[in-house]
Amino acid sequence: MHASRWWIGARRPLFAALVLGCAVSLIVSRTTTVRLIAGGALAWSFVPAFDAAAFAVVRRRARRATPFSRDLDLACATHRPWLLWLVAVAGLAAFATPRQTYDALETTAGLTTLVASLVAAAAWSACIDFRFYRTVFERTRSAAVTDLLLHRAMAWTACNLFFWTFVGWPLVADRLGL
């Protein structure tokens, strides 16, 4: 029995949303509850949604003949480094005391470790994405790099704008002297 196209395209973004919901639940309540997983998944669904939208733009440039759902399914298989990083960070937060969490986020060593692990996950993910564009989209080396950068730039910009806009605009306006 073949899965519907809709399901093939949606299942990995939905899985990413589920992991995001679990991370929220672990961080907020230090356990996994249905209420917080569902709420967290919904509240953070913008991340896989923006990622899928950015992928759709990149895919359009590659002029693919295969169904979008199948390409999206394969592309989202590269989420693994992020999801593992997320579970690891949420797991640490769930086991840490409030003081340990606060100390970790306030000290240079704690922040450096967090950022270093994030960079490692980003690099791993970039390698997998690059391979994806090279092998599945059959792009040249430079085109694959362009696809990768375009995908990242669009997805990350959209996610950061969605998350930080209300915090950031007065500060940016102040800096620009507007």
Partner: protein
């Protein structure tokens, strides 16, 4: 053929076990997550409400939980009221208030944290956002014009220059207990000094973004009832009491005395205690099962 079938079966079995463990983790986590009922507290003719006036929401915004989730999280943390104060917008607060009214509480006050490069100010009980381009005194005046109250958010020394004499006189309250001060005595001392300068309503709040606990620092509001208007009135009149982690009380001296005589404040905060064996089991199992599921991956599309 048989050699290929073996690993495939093992992978399928592994995925099944991982998802089953994940289901068990979520089920036990949900069972361990109980809300204990709280009886209303009345002292000196006032309804004493446990409140958190500095809560951020996501979707959109810089926080982990959406407004509707915060309503249930507040219940879980034993709060009677809270203010949703996203940065520079009141949108999330209005959504949270709508949800809270539909589900029967707790009381949600719409508000915002007016976040500028020179000061952070909470506007509670307002319907429209105030421009973060205004100086503190003008922002406070705008909050008052809308019928709300203005509270200095975590007023560390870096923010003091923004509060001139006019704005200090106009402020309705300031945070004297805040997570930033729990673990850093210097920050706590600065917030106490700021509070001592004018002695407006003492406010304890968690500045909740997702880390720590909602209601980690809380304000006991002595209000006529649990309505939004009564809470705003109580803050304006300075009828609040705050306890820091060492048990020191801040706020209206008469109310602190009445609360001490009554003996029920501060309420024990179970957030800091061990969540119990079931929750610990669910946590460990959930993390392991999730990592396993991610590593095993989803089955390939047919």
């Amino acid at each position: 053929m048989a050699a290929r079938r073996g690993p495939a079966r093992a992978v399928i079995a592994g995925r099944f076990v991982a998802w089953t463990l994940f289901g068990v983790a979520v089920a036990t986590g949900t069972l361990s997550d109980r809300v204990e009922p709280r009886a209303p507290i009345w002292i000196g003719g006032y309804r004493v409400l446990a409140a958190d006036f500095h809560v951020h929401c996501g979707f959109p915004g810089a926080a982990a939980l959406a407004p509707w989730d915060l309503v249930f999280e507040a219940r879980r943390r034993g709060l009677d009221a809270f203010a949703l104060t996203p940065h520079n917008t009141v949108f999330g607060g209005r959504i949270g208030r709508l949800v809270a009214r539909r589900v029967g509480g707790p009381t949600v006050l719409a508000g915002e944290e007016i976040r500028t490069s020179t000061y952070h100010l909470m506007a509670i009980g307002v319907e429209r956002s105030t421009s973060p381009r205004l100086p503190a005194a003008a922002a406070i005046a705008e909050v008052h014009r809308q019928g709300g109250v203005a509270i200095a958010a975590h007023p560390n020394a870096a923010f003091w220059p923004a509060y001139d004499a006019e704005s200090m006189a106009a402020l309705d309250g300031s945070e004297v207990c805040h997570p930033g001060g729990i673990f850093r005595e210097r920050k706590a001392a600065e917030m106490r000094l700021f509070y001592e300068r004018v002695r407006h309503a003492a406010i304890g709040s968690s500045d909740y973004h997702g880390l720590g606990w909602m209601g980690m620092c809380r304000t006991y509001v002595f209000a006529a009832d649990d309505s939004e208007a009564a809470i705003v009135d109580a803050i304006r009149a300075g009828r609040t009491v705050v306890y820091d982690r060492e048990g020191r009380a801040f706020g209206d001296a008469e109310l602190i005395g009445a609360a001490a005589a009554d003996g029920r404040l501060p309420e024990p905060d179970r957030s800091w205690s061990d969540p119990g064996a079931l929750a610990r089991f669910s946590r460990a199992l959930g993390i392991l099962a999730l990592a396993w599921i991610i590593l095993a991956g989803l089955p390939r599309a047919a």
